[in-house]
């Protein structure tokens, strides 16, 4: 039943730079360890975490450390030359299900190629640093073992997701990260607000998951297999296997990605998800989990590139709305983490726009750099929150002297996010802009440049309100312990230099560049990536970023006295609109949630109370009455009568017969002799 099939490495890689793919060595063959280890840590922490010295944190960190070793070796191997290895393990044969002419089978396995290696490494690297940071951040928390168990569950699910060679396994990982997200957002579930946020995240994602599952149901029968490799090769061969369902299936998969990657209008859960502890926000809701949608787009990229091209303009539109419109919301948020959350939504819009427009490399590169600087910003925010015991920037200010490490790393992250040359964010954003321009989405490209201006503006505001001016909170904040600042520094390094890995047209000798790394795929991508720096475009992006920083600085930085007043400046129409998040949340509450919670729930409750319960209670009452009847009439008066009579008769007979037993031997002997004589008489009479 179980068969292992390791596909031989098929042809090569991305657009240019054709090179043969190797099947990798020992580490590629044993990559499944990365998928399994966090689950082992999850179980171990649940079983023995409570009794350990670090309350299970050491197990989680250890598992992640091993994963980091594996991922790093693969990452380096893939730099030198592309790797492709796919291992499938047949778990069960499903048959044709009467909907396709090919036998479907349920398989689990892992795939090691440029895309998955990049994701393995990002998850392991950011995950490891966040785990270490969380070890300091969560000290003294009420549920430390459970926290690390959930984090490990997340890491395992995420790796199962990115290592999935087929749609079924991807959905398993997809739901696993959703579950872990729910558990961790609701980590402090004692407060209603937090558990509400968890439920909101879970339900919003569920709505989107319907799209993912419907898309799978639509595509798989036409394709005849769950494997991505089949989808890729079919798309590459311009096969009309999918026919009419290609566009519908592609849009449904995209709808699933919209939920996980918080695209407009399904973004509402992500800002609320900040109710979770800050390390969770850094790892899941900034660096890794929310990029699962982008990853899905990358994994199924040939579908969009070759078969479902009609779907792409719609996707770009949604992504651009996300990146531009939702970025503004970060301008009015007082909660530092919410500022970063809206920023994440906006940056996910950038990635999605690049993916949808055909920039496979550009989208993944922004995912790659964003994971570093956004995790850095969140961990920095967590460090500040840890010090001032408040999420609100109105309780912060002037922290740059008290928390120098946090301040400097936060500034590096902000500049990188804003897109200042030569930091990482500049290069990846520039590539997205170039892709949008090249693919003919010129208007959207200008919107994206304006988005860069907004990004720089709100990040400057956040830095100014948090670290400049005067301190407005309580107590005396001081720098976080080294276990928390070390990950900040470790993340600041790639936030600065990661952009150089993919400067257009530059290949770094033996390690090539990012384009080649993620280009190690089963089929050529046919995606666009710029061959040389477009200086004019880079200049526009840079001007937008610098203008945003200048405006933010002018408004919020200089004098402590007016800083707050300016932050509370209420521009008519615009401020209420932004403050109420474009009323989208209200729309969902009043339009969807309340009708369900109100009349519908009441109606269901009424049916439950008066119809179902009445039937059940009626049946119960009838049974009780019947039982009483049987008890009184049949049992007490019928059966018991017979039994009592039999018992009474036996007792009376026993009493009378007992008198015969005198205990006198000679009476017995006499009776015996009389009996014997009677027998003799009878014998004589008969014969």
């Amino acid at each position: 039943m179980v068969s292992v099939a390791a596909s031989a490495p098929l042809i090569l890689a991305a657009g240019d730079g054709a090179a043969d793919l190797s099947s990798g060595g020992f580490f590629a063959a044993t990559a499944w360890i990365m998928l399994v280890l966090p689950f082992a840590a999850f179980l171990a922490i649940i079983l023995v975490g409570k009794r350990m010295k670090g309350l299970g944190a050491e197990l989680a960190i250890g598992a992640m450390g091993v994963n980091l070793v594996w991922a790093s070796v693969l990452f380096v191997q893939n730099m030198a030359g592309g790797i492709y290895r796919e291992v499938n393990l047949t778990i069960a044969e499903i048959g044709t299900l009467g909907i396709t002419d090919r036998n479907l089978s349920f398989e689990l396995g892992f795939v090691v190629d440029g895309l998955s290696i990049m994701m393995y490494w990002v998850v392991a690297f950011v995950g490891f640093l966040v785990f270490v940071y969380a070890h300091g951040y969560m000290k003294g928390d009420i549920r430390v073992p459970w926290f690390f168990a959930s984090l490990s569950l997340f890491a395992g699910s995420m790796l199962v997701l990115v290592g999935a060679p087929n749609l079924i396994q991807l959905i398993i990982g997809w739901e696993g990260v959703g579950l872990a997200s729910y558990l961790l957002i609701g980590h402090y579930w004692e407060e209603k607000e937090n558990s509400d946020a968890a439920v909101k995240a879970f339900l919003t994602n569920k709505v989107a998951d319907v799209g993912l599952i419907l898309g799978t149901i639509l595509l798989v029968p036409a394709l005849g297999t769950f494997r991505f490799s089949a989808l890729s090769t079919a798309a590459d061969a311009h096969s009309d296997l999918l026919g009419g369902v290609a566009v519908a299936g592609a849009l449904l998969l995209f709808f699933g990605a919209m939920g996980k990657s918080a695209q407009f209008p399904l973004h509402v859960w992500l800002p609320d998800a900040m109710a979770g502890p800050t390390p969770v926000s850094a790892l899941m809701h900034a660096a890794t989990m929310v990029t699962a949608g982008i990853y899905l787009m990358a994994r199924t990229f040939p579908l969009y590139q070759q078969m479902a091209t009609e779907a792409r303009p719609w996707m770009v539109t949604i992504a651009v709305i996300t990146l531009f419109v939702l970025g503004f919301l970060a301008l009015v948020a007082d909660d530092l983490k919410r500022v970063l959350a809206y920023s994440t939504v906006s940056q996910l819009g950038y990635m999605m726009a690049a993916m949808a427009a055909g920039g496979y490399t550009a989208g993944l590169f922004h995912l790659f750099t964003h994971a570093f600087f956004k995790a850095l910003l969140f961990l920095g925010a967590g460090s500040v929150i840890h010090a001032v015991h408040s999420n609100n920037m109105s309780d912060m200010g002037g922290l740059r002297k008290e928390m120098p490490v946090t301040f400097w790393t936060f500034v590096v992250g902000s500049l990188s996010l804003a897109g200042v040359i030569p930091l990482a964010g500049f290069w990846s954003k520039d590539e997205i802009l170039a892709t949008l321009g090249h693919e003919g989405y010129t208007a959207f490209m200008w919107v994206a440049i304006l988005g860069a201006f907004v990004t720089a503006f709100y990040m400057t505001r956040a830095v100014a309100l948090t670290f400049f001016g005067t301190y407005k909170g309580h107590g005396h904040p001081h720098e976080s312990p080294r276990v928390m600042t070390a990950p900040l520094v470790a993340l600041a390094v790639p936030s600065v230099i990661a952009g150089l890995l993919n400067v257009p047209g530059v290949s770094w000798g033996p390690i090539h560049n990012f384009t080649d790394w993620v280009g190690a795929r089963i089929v050529p991508m046919g995606d666009y990536h710029p061959k040389a720096i477009e200086w004019d475009l880079a200049a526009y992006g840079l001007i937008a970023a610098l203008a945003g920083i200048a405006l933010g600085w002018r408004l919020f930085a200089p004098d402590a006295g007016t800083q707050q007043a300016r932050d509370r400046l209420r521009i008519p129409v615009l401020y209420p609109l932004l403050h109420n998040k474009y009323y989208i949340d209200d729309l969902y509450m009043k339009g969807v949630v309340n009708p369900i919670k109100g009349p519908l729930a009441r109606a269901v409750d009424w049916v439950n109370g008066y119809v179902i319960d009445a039937a059940i209670n009626g049946a119960g009452a009838i049974t009780a009455w019947l039982g009483g009847l049987v008890y009184r009439r049949l049992d007490q008066q019928g059966i018991d009568l017979v039994l009592n009579a039999a018992a009474g008769g036996t007792r009376g007979a026993g009493k009378r017969l007992g008198l015969v037993q005198t205990g006198k031997v000679q009476q017995y002997a006499g009776a015996f002799v009389v009996g014997a004589l009677l027998l003799v008489v009878a014998f004589v009479l008969v014969t």
């Binding site: 007992g658 037993q661 005198t662 205990g663 006198k664 031997v665 000679q666 002997a669 006499g670 002799v673």
Partner: protein, 101 residues
């Protein structure tokens, strides 16, 4: 040889034994009466054996069995009586009604 004479003797002896068994109160006497009954049975066995004169000598063999069992019975019986006497200072069989319900 007249069989009936022996049978009459055995019947008389048995009847004496039955009378003794039922009428006497002394446990030792009762035991003696039982021995008389066994002796009567033995006389019958030997008489029939001699009358039919079988080669297998069944009657004699059974008589020897009976004598053996009688000896054993007397041994046990006397031992019980001795113990009862020690405990109760009486050999009166009327008073031994402990086995009653």
């Amino acid at each position: 040889m007249i069989l009936s004479q022996f049978l009459v003797l055995g019947a008389l002896l048995f009847s004496i034994g039955v009378y003794g068994l039922l009428s006497r109160r002394n446990a030792v006497t009762v035991l003696l009466a039982v021995e008389l009954m066994l002796a009567a049975v033995n006389i019958n066995l030997i008489a029939f054996e001699a009358f039919w004169n079988t080669a297998a000598a069944h009657g004699q063999i059974f008589a020897i069995f009976v004598i053996t069992i009688a000896a054993a019975e007397v041994g046990i019986g006397l031992a019980i009586i001795l113990l009862v006497f020690r405990n109760r200072a009486s050999g009166n069989i009327d008073q031994l009604d402990l086995m009653r319900w």
